[in-house]
Symmetry: C2
Subunit: 386 residues, 2 copies
């Protein structure tokens, strides 16, 4: 609501924007508060009053409603040393969780992620062959049951799945996950039926960036380009003005298939010179002890970053997986070449960083997607006992 005008989204022209009612106001304010404690951790009611600009009494009513919904807990203040009556501390109730599933070639993993972003429990199963959607769903059900017995009192908002492959914009259909062998699968339906929960499915790189944005290295940054090097190739994602780049069909951010060498080799996708054919895990392993070859790969990475910078002008370029490793060992070279290639006048602002969340990244990101509905309408989403 309070965005700057320059980038404010004008409502779509073909469809008239929905009218707003008083209860939308209430929903918006409940959402603002729950979102604030979700990302910002424990906050006092006084801080919430200042930050939202709402009245003390209004904040009181809103927080009370959130507490009655079982979403936040109010604690007496710790010693602050400040004059005046101490403000109550509002923190998210960690018994509110989302399930996060990550099916991959060699393992399936499920986690229960609390509303404050902490991973409360996880289950992992190694597999010999890539799991089918049904395998993944069955494992999710079993693992969720175990976690529910281990930690009593959990209330689940839904489940998110991070799938290595193309996922349609509907958040349901895995269009093509070549390494898993999934093609045109409505994985949302499969998983929702197994868990009897609302499910949202997304691409793994997108989920990863979402996690780093919420709780990791891209926290609070508005415009981010993410490149993640994994065994299955290079995953890409972008955050544009505080929103995930999705694209018309959901396939946006496939930077691994950006053409980076016009004379490059044929890629599995049918094109030539794709970033991930020039710079991939095998090639990196093969030249690990060849300084000149490493330099060449680092230079390729810098070319890709420079290209993405002139398209997106990000505040931050985030590197994960083997791309993060490569950056770590060739940071001066990459930085220098990016700066040299940078089209932008104020190159001193170019920021490149490695991911921060490690093995929890995909679980946290998938859970974030599942939490989105609750954060947007705290009073309108039903929680289910696990």
């Amino acid at each position: 609501m309070s965005e700057d005008l320059a980038s404010a989204a004008v409502p779509a022209h073909t469809t008239v924007a929905r009218g707003s009612r008083n209860d939308n106001t209430r929903r918006h304010n409940l959402s603002s508060l729950l979102t604030a404690v979700h990302y910002g951790g424990p906050l006092t009611r006084a801080q919430l009053t200042r930050d939202t600009g709402l009245n003390r009494s209004t904040i009181g009513g809103l927080v009370t409603e959130l507490a009655q919904l079982g979403l936040v807990i109010e604690d007496s203040a710790a010693e602050t040393g400040a004059v005046g009556r101490p403000s109550l501390i509002v923190r998210p109730d960690r018994r509110v969780v989302a399930l996060a599933l990550h099916p991959d070639v060699d393992a399936i993993e499920l986690g229960a992620v609390a509303i404050d972003g902490t991973v409360l429990a996880r289950r992992r199963a190694s597999v010999d062959a890539p799991p089918t959607p049904q395998d993944a769903a069955a494992f999710a059900w079993e693992a969720a049951r175990e976690i529910g017995q281990e930690i009593p009192g959990l209330r689940v908002v839904g489940a998110g799945a991070a799938v290595p492959g193309l996922v349609a914009a509907d958040g349901a259909t895995v269009v093509d996950a070549p390494h898993l062998g999934w093609r045109g699968v409505d994985f949302r339906e499969v998983l929702a039926e197994a868990l009897t929960l609302p499910v949202v499915v997304g691409n793994d790189a997108n989920m990863g960036l979402r996690a780093e944005w919420s709780f990791g290295a891209a926290r609070g940054v508005d415009t981010v380009v993410f490149l993640n090097g994994s065994a299955s190739g290079i995953g890409g994602a972008a955050l544009v003005g505080g929103r995930m780049l999705r694209g018309g069909r959901g396939y946006g951010g496939e930077f691994g298939h950006m053409m980076i060498r016009s004379d490059g080799e044929r890629c599995s996708c049918g094109r030539s010179g794709c970033l991930e054919t020039v710079l991939n895990a095998e090639r990196l392993d093969a030249v690990a002890h060849d300084d000149a070859a490493l330099d060449a790969l680092a230079s390729t990475l810098a070319d890709a970053i420079a290209n993405l910078e002139c398209a997106f002008d990000p505040d931050l370029v985030l590197l994960g997986g083997y791309l993060g490793s490569l950056y770590a060992v060739r940071r001066p070279l990459v930085d220098a070449r990016v700066e040299e290639l940078a089209f932008r006048p104020d190159v001193e602002d170019v920021a490149i960083a490695r991911t921060a969340l490690g093995g929890n990244r995909l679980l946290i990101g998938a859970a974030e997607r599942a939490f989105a509905a609750l954060l947007q309408d705290p009073a309108g989403v039903a929680l289910v006992a696990l």
Copy 2:
């Protein structure tokens, strides 16, 4: 407010979202209605009632307020043939205008654009040397004065300027417009002082896409990549999920400096193989009668489009200027190569189109930027007699 959850923007984490009040509701609804008639032309109150989901009586009150503000006009219905009392027709008041300025190398142009998107009047001055910011502002003042005398009763919301060059995200500073020789100029201040109006400054390609999105070939499309070929190079812009791509500093969408040939020539920007060094107006003119060379340039264009598609997954790729002309004469080749290179599984959805608004594009786009504040808060923006 009624977006799908998949791409819903989660409020920034570091800053707590502002609280919402009842008057925000009113503002939102006024904005929805004015925006609807701005883009959708005359609409009946009955249609507005259905589309917004608001109550008849509420719509009545809102429309009355907009009419009292002098922003819309209510007309008796034309013959519809339908049973029942005819609904009043709501249309934007065309006396509400924005000024639009386009300073370029060889000319300066100013237009008065009505709130329905029509260009009511324009003034153009050819110049021998690129104008200074002060030249442009002085011309704007003089031309505005003339138009004000020619068409009495106009009420101005503000002015927008489309500048061929890098404009900072603040909507004020021209960071570098090489062809004009402007560098680090606060053109907003210069122009605002001359016109005594609120001013917003933007990049010409961004303004162009905004215009085509509002009233042209990209109307109603949510995700668009725009490439415009002009004498000063290739301008780029993108619309991502209904929002203009801006980037952290405002330099997003510079697709002309995307590296398209890894072995290409040096570009003026310091990099090599930039799209606009491989494919530019001079080169296109030079090979206009050489079919093979034209094919090669068309193929380069297709490569660029394919790259942008894998990054943005747009619903539409929009081509303007000489790139539109090139596409017109080599459409089968470009289409085929884009489809061949397309990474996306459902390539049948790739849409490429030429721009539709012609010489009015930049004026309309700049005016749109100026109208944005009014559309967002119809009751909160003061109009000034021209």
